[in-house]
């Protein structure tokens, strides 16, 4: 029996928890969100990824109730929530600055939302203790926010926003203020907590690694629109545009003219270089402008011309970026273009195969890269 994969977005009968229906948001002349439609499902860990100013924060603030859509509707469990003020929504938010109340203790911060719901005292106590345990903060309950470290503050903010057991938790750059090592640890912690509580998480981030790590699906945004929504592996391996390919990870992008042949697509891209061969692109006519994206780690580098490779190009090592576990070679072709190739350093550096100005061959299979229309 196959493992039951969590993929409600592939199930036509699944009912989305949140629906953005043709939502547009304008601030004066500026259009922050442009006719955006997307569904988010229950128990998803949904990431909004994009550069600053792409509209991801506006989307989140509309979900929290701090902004209302100029046009279109936002549905939460089928209900239009456009007119519901933030304090009446079953949605909580973890703020980028954490927004911990400096005059209240950690305990009181976590209890703050529960008290507003007029929950009985003993239940509040239980719930707060539960949240403190979940976030491993029991020792710090009596402290004030300035008396704990940045990482602990981040956990208090999470506990506080989870305490009311919201249907939907919004996380605005939740790990942005932490240093890299702590951030990586906390990413896994976030995923554990999301799984334990079964809450739907929507996270806003500009860090693609973070989005890829934590999310069940990633929406890549640009200029108020979602360019692509998909699982992290699809976003990485099958981007739908050069924008997505370039935004996520490292990539070689080359442009040329399409030349469909049999069941393959060839692309002529530079004088004196062989055409790039890859899987066909729907509806690409001969002579049409197309782009080709290939990840550096899919390009192999060798001293001899490899047999049987679908794509081979000769060049000269121009630069080497040594990152410890891997090295990235910038290989300069005869026409001056640079192609990046990555290889794992499974040998010690003294026995490295290539050095500057070595003549090398780059090669990759016909399924390693993707052709893109835009």
């Amino acid at each position: 029996m196959a493992l039951d994969v969590f993929a409600p977005w592939d199930d036509p009968n699944a009912k989305p928890l949140i629906q953005f229906q043709n939502v547009t948001k304008r601030f004066g002349d500026f259009t922050a969100i442009d006719d955006l439609t997307v569904d988010i499902f229950e128990k998803e860990f949904f990431a909004l990824l994009g550069p600053s100013g792409c509209g991801k924060t506006t989307m989140m603030r509309m979900l929290a109730g701090f902004e209302t859509p100029t046009e279109g509707q936002i549905l939460l469990a089928g209900q239009d929530i456009g007119a519901v003020p933030p304090n009446k929504r079953a949605v909580n938010m973890m703020f980028q600055s954490y927004a911990l109340f400096p005059h209240l203790s950690i305990w009181e911060n976590i209890a703050f939302g529960l008290k507003r719901d007029k929950m009985p005292k003993d239940q509040i106590g239980e719930r707060v203790e539960e949240m403190l345990r979940l976030t491993r903060l029991e020792k710090f309950a009596r402290r004030k926010p300035h008396q704990i470290s940045g990482g602990q503050r981040q956990r208090v903010a999470l506990a506080r926003s989870l305490a009311k057991a919201p249907k939907l938790l919004l996380l605005d750059e939740p790990l942005g203020a932490l240093d890299k090592k702590l951030r990586q640890e906390t990413q896994f912690e976030l995923m554990d907590i999301q799984e334990t509580t079964g809450t739907t998480f929507v996270i806003v981030t500009h860090d693609q690694e973070e989005a890829m790590t934590v999310a069940s699906r990633v929406a890549v945004m640009d200029h108020g629109q979602i360019v692509q929504v998909s699982t992290p592996d699809v976003i990485y391996e099958a981007p739908n545009s050069t924008y997505v390919a370039d935004f996520i990870g490292d990539v070689n992008l080359i442009s040329g003219k399409a030349d469909p042949q049999d069941d393959k697509l060839h692309m002529h891209w530079a004088e004196g270089q062989p055409a790039v061969v890859g899987s066909p692109l729907d509806g690409a006519a001969k002579g049409q402008d197309v782009h080709y994206a290939i990840r550096p780690e899919k390009v192999s580098i060798s001293a001899e011309k490899p047999e049987n490779a679908a794509n081979t190009i000769q060049g000269e090592v121009h630069d080497i970026a040594y990152l410890g576990n891997i090295s990235t070679y910038h290989v300069k072709l005869a026409g001056g273009q640079i192609i990046k190739a990555q290889s794992a350093n499974n040998r010690r550096i003294s026995r490295r195969a290539f050095t500057w100005e070595d003549k090398v061959w780059l090669s990759w299979t016909d399924t390693a890269g993707v052709f893109l229309e835009r």
């Binding site: 701090f66 933030p86 304090n87 949605v91 980028q96 927004a99 703050f112 507003r116 300035h146 926003s161």
Partner: protein
């Protein structure tokens, strides 16, 4: 860090001597036995006794404190409201006018403010006294309060209020439970500023008061116009010391809190 140069040491010494010597001399000569203020005739506290027995001074002091208390409370409420409106209410019609009305009284010569308020009270047929002074002082003090409070509000992380709303507060609750406790220090300094401005004011009070109310500065004024007197020296000393002790205590408490907070923050980071 550079060492202090001679130039800096000299300018600081001379500067602070200039600021403090006149008051020091005043304080010293308030203990002068002689009626002739400029001739030292031995130590005595008799002028303090004179001041404390002088009911005119005491009455005026009482009026002044009453006025200062009422007007600073009113000014704090109004000024805080104005600050919230200016910082948080976004755009509304009359925003520019309001910001002008908050700003203008602070740069207005006191003689003009006093004159215009007096003419208002007269044309309304109001009896002048404590009440009219309170109205006048509230009006100019609220502008200072609003500046003090809005500078705190501007630096205030607005996501704190949003977090309160997000956790279920109504806007009023969010203000009471989150905003107010956090801006409280600024509101208190605004109140203190309003209080001392009112205590200090001579010109506006002279215009807006009637025969029934004489404030301490008005009383001192009518006496110092005739020249220096040992009684006024003693009274001034009392006023200077009260203010100095108040301000120094407040700033020491403030400093201690800041130091403690820093220490705790440092400890928290080390612990992590």
């Amino acid at each position: 860090m550079r060492r202090m140069t001679w130039f800096n040491v000299t300018s600081l010494t001379l500067g602070f001597a200039f600021l403090y010597l006149p008051m020091l001399i005043l304080i010293i000569f308030s203990f002068n036995e002689s009626k002739l203020v400029t001739v030292w005739a031995g130590f005595s506290t008799k002028w303090y006794g004179e001041v404390l027995r002088n009911t005119a001074f005491l009455d005026a002091a009482w009026v002044t404190i009453k006025v200062a208390f009422l007007s600073s409370c009113l000014a704090t409420i109004l000024g805080t409201m104005a600050a919230i409106v200016m910082v948080r209410a976004g755009r509304f019609r009359g925003r520019t006018v309001l910001s002008g009305m908050i700003y203008a009284p602070m740069v207005m010569p006191e003689v003009i403010t006093g004159l215009s308020l007096l003419l208002l009270f007269i044309s309304l047929g109001m009896d002048r006294g404590v009440f009219t002074i309170v109205l006048a002082h509230t009006t100019f003090a609220m502008c200072y309060v609003s500046v003090v409070v809005s500078s705190r509000l501007v630096s205030f992380d607005q996501s704190l209020e949003e977090a309160a709303l997000d956790l279920g507060c109504s806007p009023v609750q969010a203000f009471r439970l989150v905003t107010l406790p956090i801006i409280a220090p600024a509101v208190i300094s605004g109140w203190l500023l309003a209080f001392t401005l009112s205590l200090d004011d001579l010109v506006i009070a002279s215009f807006t008061s009637g025969p029934s109310a004489t404030t301490l500065p008005m009383k001192i004024w009518s006496s110092v116009r005739l020249g220096v007197s040992p009684e006024i020296n003693a009274l001034s000393t009392i006023m200077i010391l009260v203010v100095a002790i108040g301000v120094i205590t407040a700033s020491l408490i403030n400093k201690r809190n800041v130091v403690r907070q820093r220490r705790e923050e440092a400890a928290a980071e080390k612990l992590a």
